[in-house]
Symmetry: C2
Subunit: 677 residues, 2 copies
């Protein structure tokens, strides 16, 4: 990070010619002129404002920092100099929701300094893209600002209206994570919330506040400090400091994605364009994959993580799951509860008993790994830390070296706790540094990472493509447990327009026994946690909720005699392009994605209301013919009392064909368009 | 109240024969069997559960009280005796949204007592109606429970699912009132909220929690005490006590309205049936009315409440508003800022300077009242108290006597402050008693009451029909001021299914200058507070948001050359019956109401989305013919940038005619069906 910082510092000195009389108000427009940032010095404060198609989005909002042990850096400023740049490049993702990403933006770098006193300086870099704007701070090397402790970042987002927002709460003492159901309210009703925060301005546009390139800083929540004003709320170190650093220093980008309608928000690449290019030269070892695992059985109460009579991670059980993976073309099998440390209060002790190399006696890791390898399957190694970061970091090299020797290509990490044993916040700078260390160490050993209870995605995957996916929201596991009744039918229609804008999510779809009969054979009541979708909607989620690693979440027993399983066998996990065909936040969404082989997959989901749409296939290339394999809600399907019926049919389609997509309450539809060759 | 209490106590002793071996679980069903309450003693606690059409709505929820200075009354209980009753009667409203109300219910009275210790007793009365269930506590006269101080009411509402709720926050320190925009979230995300609370269970039914007959108790908010469990949160006295009383004592009813769909919630009469019959023998002096007033001019910045250059309440100005009222058939004219006390910090001083009899020098109250009377108009006297309750109560008799002598028939009260000077909560028992005193005193002087910043309606109007209407939500005034941009287009579509279920609301519709050009002539920007509806929607609100007093809120200048004013002249404020033709909470609603003369009025409103519906007029009596006078959104109408266009048309309709109702974004439609005679 410090090396990284110095580079920017050098660059800074290089690119900023001194203008003797700099303008006091500067305008930066996106390449198409749609988005405009206006930067000004107003009463000694540096402010920025944002407009979209000549409509104000953000009114002048001030910038700066509060430090512990030093005066605020916010007032009494003068403009020192500024510089502009324009870029228009494209880059390719090794894997993703879209193959080629265009990065076209205008850039304005503004350097300001205090007129008197400490005469400290800082730089703000603004970038204007056609799909939004962003800014970040640079704190250059200077006499009166060396090592520092940020107590508050004073960036403001002053909205020019009172938009409707979809949000989850931040800093709930009981659960400092992202695993909440969404609430919706006008901005003026917010307290403290997580990002990405999606805001629908009355009469449009739709705006998403988030961050990019979170490398050595605290994750950003947003606190409302005025009727329509938000400010970053940074997760603290144990001593309350938010961010520790030393100049030269650079902050993450604050991103303001802007789209005419919610459906224009996807694919969301603004954050990717603001991360650095890949540090991994040869990415061929990084494997997007479908996987199954010994996991849902524990959530559903059939198995336990700790060893004992119901222990899920046994050699025999693992082989059954590997057999299923091999038989259905899945590349990975996850086995949770394989390693010692689960017995006893592993959460209260911050997982100090966890070994990441020693398996339970009833689980022969070496034999299982060999068994998998012989069948073309790779184990997904599970590393639950319980936020015992020290314990995990001490074992990182030995554990990852072991996994590599077993032919393993990926790990699933877990951070089930609200803070570290030392009291550092779940999403603070301390944990940001830890996650970076895990990613970089994993890359060294040819391992990819799928993090659960993570810090929110800020585009790390561009720089470290082995950062495949993460949780960071209320996933499918809540349909098996928790006292609040599982995820409501609208949940995924909100996730698509909120959490998923940050990046891939390992939502773990594919539960086929929707009433959780489980081993007992007894159906759960509607008021008990169980899956609140139809089976067709479970299939559609593979297309709608993007992730390069997609789980077949259910226990293997649930997939027997299930013709609908064919769709999950067929569906891709890496895409050439993505089209959102329709959608409304919290109500429904229909997504089409093109696989590398030219096949298209369509996923449509609805909330508790039945819906029908006519969807023109105008995105198909002229001349090409496709066989549409349709998995639709069957007769009488209903998430509440009849979730299982699926009707499978097929027919020929081509560009211009109009598909009728009808969905049951809480239902969905999954379609494969198989290209004729 | 004490007299009232004793009566119930006497009744209690009379109706409860002692059963030697009472059942430990009792079942009470609504007349149609749809709603069932199951009462049980479970481990020494009294619990109740509620089901609707055999689907669990509330799981067993316990009952009881915590006292200051005495042990909890909740555990170690045994059943003493029980009694049942069934009633099926009807009663007529002197005015209302429906003329005749049927009260058909089953009743179960359960008396329990502590096995040991103080051996205190209490009674719970359960009632099951076809439109919901309710319960209340009685604390009978007994040796070990005389004077008491309730610190918590321990009633639980344990939901059998995690419903979607529409809520406003309770006990915000900055604003202990009801004037918030609505948020929506699953029940599991609530903190502390106001009632009525509307909860849509996944897969139905829709449930509304509220209270009825709030006579001498603290108003009930709801706090979440478990993932899906709510409990009353009572507003306190200054010393923290929630409720003070002495046996015999009776609490308000806790009402649980239950309907298959949201549109079945209206008309909502459950609470009315749980209030006592009218104490006013001859109600002919009580006047539902349309009124205008010197009011919006202050909110829009043209006038001031205090005296001075821009003082709104001048004799001349009042006469202009009276002339307009007379010319347009309005019965009332409100004049705010007429009385001394507005100059200076009237909020900070809790209105101690307010006189309710002395007018400002530039306002000749006697002359204005006479001028009004000569034109068939009555003044609506305004009494803003700033929560200076003592000051107001000391002047009540002299003020109301004065108003009566001036031929005035109604007062509009105001309570702009978060608590009383003594620190009692805005909605606590102290204020409940005050509001009762005002209603009863007003009745004595032949005055009706329209309370702003009130306590929520709990059905007072049945017992005191001079309690005409109140605010108790974020009303139209917020479209003129406040930093959060006015009420969003969806606001009224939520109010209809939440706040309005409690009773009439003085929302003050009828703003015709939607961009608030006002005197300056300068339109406000969309991000500034202004009315976020089309003009047609303003008309529709007179039908959708029921109140027996409806204001023409705008300044008189805004009504000149406005053909649409005819609808407001025509629309009724008292109804024979009410039908909800369609609707979805937060999206849209269409309501039809029949006036006393056989005319029907239809109001339809939508949120920010344009919508069109085919509405069959199957509620019209066969054979009758009507002229439909339609006020629809005009070409290109849009709440954001083109709110004014209205198209007025007419045609013949009858039973079976299907009306096409098309609405613009943020729009609506208002229709008068004039019966041919």
């Amino acid at each position: 990070m410090h090396f990284h910082g110095s580079v920017l510092c050098a660059a800074l000195l290089a690119v900023l010619p001194v203008h003797p009389l700099p303008a006091q108000s500067m305008r930066l427009a996106s390449p198409d002129g749609r988005n405009v940032i206006t930067v000004a010095l107003d009463g000694g404060q540096l402010t920025y404002a944002v407009s979209h198609r000549d409509r104000a989005v953000l009114l002048p909002s001030s910038l700066g920092f509060a430090f512990r042990g030093a005066p605020r850096l916010q007032r009494g400023l003068r403009l020192l100099d500024s510089a502009r740049a324009e870029r228009d490049t494209s880059w390719r993702q090794p894997w993703g929701e879209v193959r080629t990403v265009r990065d076209a933006h205008g850039e304005l770098r503004v350097r300001v300094g205090e007129r008197n006193g400490l005469r400290r300086e800082f730089v703000v870099i603004f970038r204007a893209f056609n799909d939004g704007v962003a800014f970040r701070y640079e704190l250059p090397c200077q006499p009166n600002l060396g090592a520092f402790a940020i107590s508050e970042e004073l960036s403001e987002f002053v909205f020019a209206d009172n938009p409707k927002t979809w949000w989850i709460p931040a800093n709930r003492p009981a659960m400092d994570r992202y695993e909440f159901l969404y609430a919706s309210s006008p901005l003026s009703m917010l307290d403290s919330v997580r990002t990405p925060l999606t805001l629908e301005m009355q009469g449009g546009p739709v705006v998403v506040l988030h961050e990019a390139a979170l490398v050595d800083y605290a994750a950003m929540d947003l606190a409302r400090v005025g009727e329509r004003t938000l400010r970053p709320a940074l997760s603290p170190w144990a001593d309350g400091v938010k961010v520790r650093g030393r100049t030269p220093f650079v902050t993450p980008w604050r991103t303001i994605q802007i789209a005419a309608t919610a459906t224009d928000l996807v694919p969301s690449v603004l954050g990717l364009n603001l991360n650095e290019p890949s540090r991994v030269a040869d990415t061929r070892w990084i494997e997007p994959m479908k996987y199954n695992g010994i996991w849902w059985g524990m959530h559903a109460g059939m198995y336990t993580w700790p060893s004992g009579q119901k222990h899920g991670a046994t050699t025999e059980n693992a082989k059954r799951y590997i057999d299923f993976a091999a038989a259905n073309g899945l590349r990975g099998t996850l086995v949770e509860g394989w390693n010692v440390g689960w017995n006893g209060d592993w959460i209260g002790s911050y997982g100090k008993g966890f070994s990441f190399t020693r398996a339970y006696p009833d689980y022969d890791l070496t034999a299982v790994a060999r068994y998998a390898k012989e069948r073309g399957v790779t184990l997904v190694m599970h590393n639950e830390t319980a936020m015992g970061v020290g314990n995990y970091e001490r074992q990182l090299d030995s554990a990852f070296a072991l996994y590599k020797s077993l032919g393993v290509t990926s790990v699933k990490t877990g951070y089930v706790n609200d803070r570290t044993a030392e009291g550092h916040a779940h999403t603070g700078q301390y944990m940001v540094r830890h996650h970076r260390k895990v990613i970089e160490t994993a890359a060294k050993y040819g391992l990819s990472v799928n993090a659960h209870e993570p810090i929110m995605d800020t585009g790390e995957r561009r720089t470290w493509p082995n950062m495949l996916s993460r949780e960071g929201a209320r996933g499918g596991e809540y349909n098996a447990g928790g006292p609040d009744g599982g995820n409501p039918p609208e949940h995924e229609t909100i996730l698509f327009f909120t959490r998923l804008l940050a990046g891939p999510m390992d939502y773990t779809p594919g539960v086929f026994d929707l009433r959780l009969k489980g081993s007992s054979g007894a159906e759960r009541r509607p008021d008990q946690p169980r899956v609140r979708t139809t089976l067709a909607k479970q299939l559609a989620l593979y297309v709608v909720l993007y992730s390069p690693v997609q789980m077949l979440a259910d226990v293997v027993e649930s997939y027997t005699n299930q013709p609908a399983l064919q769709f999950v066998r067929d569906v891709a996990v890496d895409w050439e392009q993505t089209r959102v065909l329709n959608g409304r936040i919290g109500d429904y969404v229909t997504v089409a994605r093109e696989a590398a082989n030219g096949d298209w997959f369509i996923g449509a989901i609805t909330d508790e209301e039945a819906r029908a749409f006519d969807v023109p296939l105008d995105f198909l290339p002229a001349g090409a013919r496709y066989t549409a394999e349709v998995y639709a809600d069957g007769p009488g399907a209903h998430w509440l009392n009849n979730p299982q019926p699926v009707t499978i049919s097929s027919g020929f389609v081509q560009a211009g064909t109009v598909l009728r997509i009808a969905m049951a309450p809480g239902g969905g539809q999954a379609i494969r368009l198989r290209k004729e060759r």
